[in-house]
Amino acid sequence: MSSQLEALPMLQVEGLQVSVGDHLVAVRDVSFAIRRGESVGLVGESGSGKTLTCRSVLGLLPETGEIDHGSIVLGSGPDAVELTGARRGTWDKVRGTRVAAVFQDPASYLNPSLTIGHQVDEVLRVRGGLGRRAARERTIELLTEVGLHDAELVYHRYPFELSGGMLQRVIIAIAVSLNPELLIADEATTALDTVVQAEILELLQRLRRTHQLSLLLVTHDLAVVAETCERVLVMYAGEIVESGPTDQVLGDPQHPYTQALMGVASIGDWSRRTLDTIPGQPPAAGEELPGCRFAPRCRYAAAECVAGPIPLAPVDAGSGGPGRASRCVRVAVPA
């Protein structure tokens, strides 16, 4: 595959603003792109807007939420589809075949009164156009591919008979069954124990390679991002505050919030005995602030930080190359 094709964005989000309830802006000025085959992590604490962003890309905003403005484009060139404001018909065409999702609590996303086999078959037959026998064979293949031994047995089981980890594998099997371009995992491993979590993440990586899948991993867990994502987007209070290649961002954070997060997360630092916390609270949902939304809690805050809106600007830190950005005026200043 030519690098040019690979460089084309598979998902392009531009200037997304989402508000909930009584016009409270919960996601503001969010722009990012995901290239073909790339794995991107969207990281943030609860309330950071990462879930709403993810739901917007999937067309699953709650009744109280709506996209104020911005664009979400899936694919490029003649295949490009604008997803904001898309109608049910467009979504039905796009979901499953071009974008698929895996959520937390896999058991609840499967129909409790249908067998596993039936549910995987159904996708293949209804949307993949396979006949009954072909679908069954492909289902068994898929179930085996996602790491379920005794796929034949699992085929006949009902969801309530399987464990969480196994169910998540089934959901993943369904998600990749139609060979989508993008797989969005929203806290997909949060409810699983660490061993199973590691297995699922490894599965996702493997599938990325075999199916040329782009991955958008939405999580609050930095360790997951560190392990699985090539690039990371850090969200805080509805905005992207930093973005760039994962090892660079986590190794040399260029935003005070990311720095603080690393302090709290203590990845790989076994010697530390004290528990760091970030003093203060994130701003209330929809609260309008004059400048940087992290400023009230930031140890580097200065007058220029609250003077006006801070853009997500490219950062040319010594260690980083192109592709890094930070929403911090104090950092973008060359040392």
Partner: protein
């Protein structure tokens, strides 16, 4: 970076929790799993049947009515009463009488009418088909109308159809069946002269005429039930459409219709089935009313006439037979509920098995 536990699977990936079967997959283990609760269902049904028969017999036992009074009225003498009581076996002790009566009933013999000495089962065999055919028509109409309205309302919840259905159902539910029946008669039979206001032709004699005479009573019976079904179904469906598994189905790119019919309906239908189950005694009870309204020669007329004469065996027979019919209907509905929801087969809890 990755932990050392990846690669080899530490957690055994066998699909079946400890105590379950080791057979290869297939529908067989699930049918067997359904048998136990089915067995319990049969036991409950049998008990209820037994209790119903006891109550019925007790009514007869407490009755002051006797064959002599029924036939001879006020001219009956002590001697007449004693003779006829003996003739009908009423001077035997209660418990053996009950068992004889029950035993005979199980064989289809419900005794003889005190008034006409015609076997009760014969009279019932003549009268029952009238009610059954109309009740069945009513049930079919109710299910068709109710599910149609409920599904239409749920497909576009909050839309025009939904609101219209809600209003209609609310209005209709305040009206008892015989009021609706009277309204129908007035509108369609008296004013518009479209359909007859009364009378009956048996189904096997002339199906078209049967339909002509049956449609109004069946409609009157069905409307209340249809409204209940529509309301319950709509609520269940709209609630279920918000559940995660419906979202999961939506995420696979399934259309609204497929999500509703292929996934949500089968899970959400259980409370609606319960409503249908409760409708069966309603319809049977209502059939009694419509018989009078529409002048149908059914079981209620039989019961009424016999009740007026004090003809106990016929009255008891009709009670027992209608109770059995309602019971069978309930049994079917309960069994259907069991079949449709595999998780409910396990110890009656909804949360299912091991995680």
């Amino acid at each position: 970076m990755a932990s050392a536990t990846t690669g080899a699977t530490l957690t055994p990936q066998t699909a079946v929790p400890a105590a379950a079967s080791t057979r290869r997959g297939g529908a067989a283990p699930h049918l067997l799993a359904a048998l136990r609760p089915l067995g319990r269902l049969l036991l409950t049904t049998a008990t209820v049947l037994f209790l119903a028969s006891v109550i019925t017999f007790a009514l007869g036992a407490f009755s002051k009515s006797n064959p002599a009074a029924t036939v001879l009225g006020e001219t009956a003498t002590e001697q007449d009463i004693a003779t006829m009581n003996h003739q009908f076996g009423l001077d035997r002790p209660l418990v053996p009488r009950y068992f004889t009566w029950l035993g005979d009933a199980l064989h289809g013999d419900l005794g003889k009418s005190w008034f006409t000495t015609v076997p009760v089962s014969d009279s019932i065999k003549q009268a029952l088909p009238v009610d059954l055919s109309i009740a069945l028509l009513a049930l079919v109409l109710a299910i068709l109308l109710g599910t149609g309205a409920g599904v239409a309302a749920a497909l576009r919840a909050g839309g025009f159809v939904d609101r219209a259905v809600t209003v209609v159902c609310s209005v209709v539910a305040t009206l008892p069946p015989f009021v609706i029946g009277i309204a129908l008669i007035v509108l369609l039979a008296v004013k518009a002269r479209l359909l007859p206001a009364g009378g009956y032709v048996a189904l096997d004699v002339d199906p078209v005429q049967w339909l002509r005479f049956s449609i109004l009573p069946a409609l009157a019976l069905s409307i209340e039930v249809a409204a209940n079904i529509a309301r319950q179904l709509r609520t269940s469906l709209v609630g279920a459409l918000r559940e995660n598994y419906a979202i999961g189905a939506e995420m696979r790119g399934f259309s609204r219709r497929r999500v509703l019919f292929g996934h949500v309906l089968r899970n959400a239908i259980s409370p609606t089935l319960a409503v249908i189950g409760m409708a069966i005694p309603l319809i049977i009870g209502g059939a009694v009313m419509t018989e009078k309204l529409f002048n149908l020669p059914g079981i209620a007329q039989l019961a009424l006439q016999s009740a007026q004469r004090g003809d106990v065996p016929v009255v008891l027979g009709t009670l027992l037979v209608t109770a059995v019919i309602v019971l069978i209907g309930s049994l079917v509905v309960n069994a259907l509920q069991l079949m449709l929801n595999p998780a409910a087969r396990r110890a009656g809890t909804l949360t299912g098995g091991a995680r």
